[in-house]
């Protein structure tokens, strides 16, 4: 695959299909979209297979000086590879989820989704500062249209809120980017990641980037766009929002804030910890009292993302790896949970939790999948959620026991609201006749749920497959931020063991 522009091809396939969908009628548009996303998935698998673990940091690089002021530069490291895989994996499932539920303006809908796919891959593959910004911002247009045209009853308010919130966050980042390019004399992201900005300026630059990524993430208190957007978006829109768009914030922290501004990151780590702690506790409590299933899952996303941010700002490999796995896991699990909601929403057209009940009787397979994803979301060992949360919390424990203590309550609260949700939906009496009459999963829904379930279990049982490509990049990042690493609060002093006991201990060790 040397020299073959596979990343460009991955960008071009959905783009071309998007144009084709605009002019196609409904049935053809669905087929085109599914084929294009599957082709992109196959290309993604090829990308992963050909990715040389332990090889060069940036692989599959392409660079063409097409534009004035910035270049068309693509390339991926392990972190970007994993996030691209997540995107191409979720896309065919999203198309499948919208197969029957979208009835009006199918061509435009599919075109918007395919355009989103191009832009998401572009964000993760861009190696030029401005190219990144263009992909990052351009995603607003198709998402605005997806929420606004095909969304629920409050869709217009939600679409405005989504667009303006994210735009306001991002424009300040653009000014910071302009300043950085002017100062460093380059727009090449790998070069900038090694460039040492003056710590005083870093503060401002960090804040400008934070404004953008914190909104995208989203962190408390700028998370309020998320529940609105999630609830109003169509099922597939929620999947993409939760699955991939939120990851752009985390990716931004990993790619920009941490390596480019290590001193400022250390300086503001406590701001991030503070906001994350509030987010974990507050949004979990809010989720507990929701009556709307999608809103509940949306609030749980905010809590999960807070675990990501504390892991990122722990400044150690465990925290960083944990954050990445939480992001990947959350992408799969929350996507799957939104799909689960979509499955029953398609049948009953309500998201009200009280309208369901006892679904495990008439929909046993559905209840099984829903159970698996709920458990993965809680972080049960054996599922992907456990690996990520454990690593993140282990990372933050090296920095602060208090933050760990507060954030760990999130796991308990998380178990509380998720299991409460599950009990109300799947167990108990079948109090509503229409809900009791719903048929179980059909083959299309099986085809959507089964791959995600497999991936969730794979990541939970053998996370090494996912960690291996990222390990080297995370080590590099850790080395880069090492100089600003905060001291941990747990100053463990090795005590003086008794002579005899110590000897016995050594002997015991030696016996092993």
């Amino acid at each position: 695959m040397n020299g073959f522009p596979i990343l460009t091809l991955m960008l071009a396939v959905p783009l071309a299909a998007a144009v084709a969908c605009l002019f196609a009628e409904a049935r053809a548009a669905r087929t085109i979209a599914l084929l294009a996303t599957l082709v992109d998935f196959v290309l993604g698998v090829l990308l992963w297979v050909n990715y040389d673990i332990g090889g060069a940091q940036w692989q599959f690089t392409e660079r063409v000086e097409l534009f004035a002021g910035f270049s068309y530069a693509l390339g991926i490291d392990g972190i970007a590879l994993m996030l691209i895989m997540l995107s191409v994996f979720l896309m065919p499932i999203c198309i499948g989820a919208s197969w029957n539920s979208i009835e009006k303006r199918v061509g435009e809908y599919m075109a918007a989704f395919l355009l989103m796919e191009t832009l998401m891959i572009g964000v993760f593959a861009a190696q030029d500062l401005y190219l990144f910004y263009i992909f990052f911002e351009a995603g607003l247009i198709p998402m605005y249209l997806i929420i606004g045209i095909w969304g629920g009853s409050e869709r217009i308010y939600a679409s405005y809120k989504f667009f303006l919130y994210t735009l306001l966050g991002s424009v300040l980042m653009l000014i910071a980017m302009l300043w950085m390019a002017n100062e460093a004399g380059t727009t090449d992201i790998p070069t900038l990641m090694a460039y040492d900005f003056d710590p005083k300026v870093q503060t401002w630059l960090w804040l400008a980037f934070f404004a953008s990524f914190a909104v995208k993430m989203p962190m408390w208190p700028v998370h309020t766009w998320l529940p609105d957007a999630h609830v109003q978006a169509p099922t597939a829109g929620s999947v993409i929002l939760a699955g991939v768009l939120l990851k752009m914030g985390g990716y931004g922290f990993i790619r920009f804030s941490l390596p480019m501004f290590p001193e400022a990151s250390a300086q503001f780590a406590w701001l991030v910890f503070g906001l994350s702690m509030v987010a974990v506790v507050y949004t979990s409590l809010v989720a507990l009292v929701q009556h709307d299933m999608k809103k509940l899952i949306a609030y749980s996303s905010v809590a999960h993302m807070a675990i990501v941010t504390i892991g990122l700002f722990a400044f150690n490999p465990q925290g960083l790896e944990g954050s990445m796995i939480v992001m990947l896991s959350h992408g799969l699990v929350s996507g799957a949970l939104f799909l689960s909601v979509g499955v029953i929403y398609d049948r009953l057209h309500t998201r009200e939790i009280d309208r369901y009940g006892g679904l495990s009787i008439n929909m046993p397979y559905y209840a099984l999948f829903f159970m698996l994803f709920t458990m993965a979301s809680v972080g049960l060992p054996g599922t992907s959620g456990f690996v990520g949360e454990f690593l993140s919390l282990a990372g933050i424990y090296q920095v602060s026991s208090w933050v760990t203590a507060v954030c760990t309550t999130g796991i308990i609260l998380g178990a509380a609201y998720r299991l409460y949700l599950y009990r109300r939906v799947a167990f108990g009496e079948q109090k509503n006749a229409d809900a009791a009459a719903m048929p179980d999963l059909d083959w299309r829904e099986w085809a959507m749920m089964a791959p995600i379930a497999a991936a969730v279990l794979w990541m939970g049982i053998y996370p090494e497959s996912f960690l291996a490509p990222m390990r080297q990049d995370i080590a590099a990042l850790d080395a880069r931020v090492a100089r600003a690493k905060p001291a941990g609060d747990a100053q463990i002093k090795a005590g003086k063991p008794k002579e005899a006991a110590a000897e016995a201990h050594t002997a015991h060790e030696g016996a092993h």
Partner: protein, 487 residues
Amino acid sequence: MDWSHSLRLIAPEELLSISGLVLLLVAAWAGDKASRTISVLCVAALVGAGVLVAPALCAGAMGPDTVAFSGQFRADAFASFAKLLIYGAAAASLMVAPAFFERVGAMRAEYPLLILFAALGGGIMVSATDLLTLYIGLELNSLASYVLAAFLRSDERSAEAGLKYFVLGALASGILLFGMSLTYGFTGTTAFAGISAALDGGLTMGATFGIVFVLAGLAFKIAAVPFHMWTPDVYEGSPTPVTTFFATAPKVAALALTMRVALDAFGGQDGAWRQIVVFAALASIVVGALGAIGQRNIKRLMAYSSINNVGFILIGLACATAEGASAMLVYLAIYVAMTLGGFVAILMLRDAEGQPVEAIADLAGLSRTRPMLAAGLAMVMFSLAGIPPLFGFWGKFVVFQAAVQAGLVPLAAIGIAASVIGAFYYLKIVKVMYFDEPADKVAGGSDWAHRFLLLATSLFISPLGYLLTKWLGSLADAAAAALFVAV
């Protein structure tokens, strides 16, 4: 003085003047029947003038060779860049007009001629290097514009627009003349080079007042806050093809003129006018954005949008650097394309009886009845809001880049944050067209010229436009360099 050299340099102006005068005679004899033919000939004259102008831009002409009539007039790359935009916008305003005026039975032969003379005046404005040439060009442009605003004689709104434009325009001209006389009085010359040399010695109180009044007069012409009040009324009242023209050609001319005056004549004293420009820029961005939110008429909305855009362009001027000037020119080029696209789309909005549809509420559900038109208009709106990957983003990008390079980071940060307010009302149009239930007000059928222009401008502002950034950037750089060469 080498007359033949000077006359060669003003060849485009000669072509436009002679064709304008000859066609005026044709119009007098042939009457309104010939108006379509005259329109075609006027477009041909503008294209011819464009061909004459282009070599100077491509060669990056600058320096003493470009000076005509002992420093009255300069035909350098900068002037060529602006002239190409002016001629292009004027030609487009001619192409869209017949279909509009014929429907209301008001197509008259004077329309193309007035546009031609206004374009000629605009060309003289951007080439002026003397206060007197400046004034001649400005008045030639303005007088033609006043008549154009009132072109639909039987329409009350059009007459009102013409009168308003004339009274306020005359006031602005008075302010400008007052400033010019002060400048002349305190520097002893009307030539830009002389003024610049005289001001290098230091700024007297009188000269400061001169600068302030000149800039105030020019701010009126470019519709910068606080001299913007006429814009919404005039844009709404004028016939739409005329509004198309107002929003593009005279705006380019006045902005290029302002650049020449500020950076050449007052170039040594940028400290004296920078605050004014910074204030006007931020005030225009904010007022343009806030004023547009409550509008129900799409032409008024576009008027506020043009005020908003002028604010962004002025950020480039506040830099007072060659990069800033180059960024302004790139922005202007993109702005002209976006505005043309927007107004052509507005011209295509007609109800079943062929009456123009201007109320924003009547656009509801346009994406289902006229998908291509709605897509074109939506692209213009997103582009005006500066959302990548549309080309409008690039204009804002280069302007803010220049501001950051010039060290004006706070200005750039405030300006770009305020641009989010603007995004709100552009989104409103998209929302009405795409999210609302169809109002079925807009009927089908459009003129081929409209379709062609909308397609061309849409392609330009689409992401494909980025392929032009290198070419556009180098032309703008050459033009901006010409502005900064002392003769």
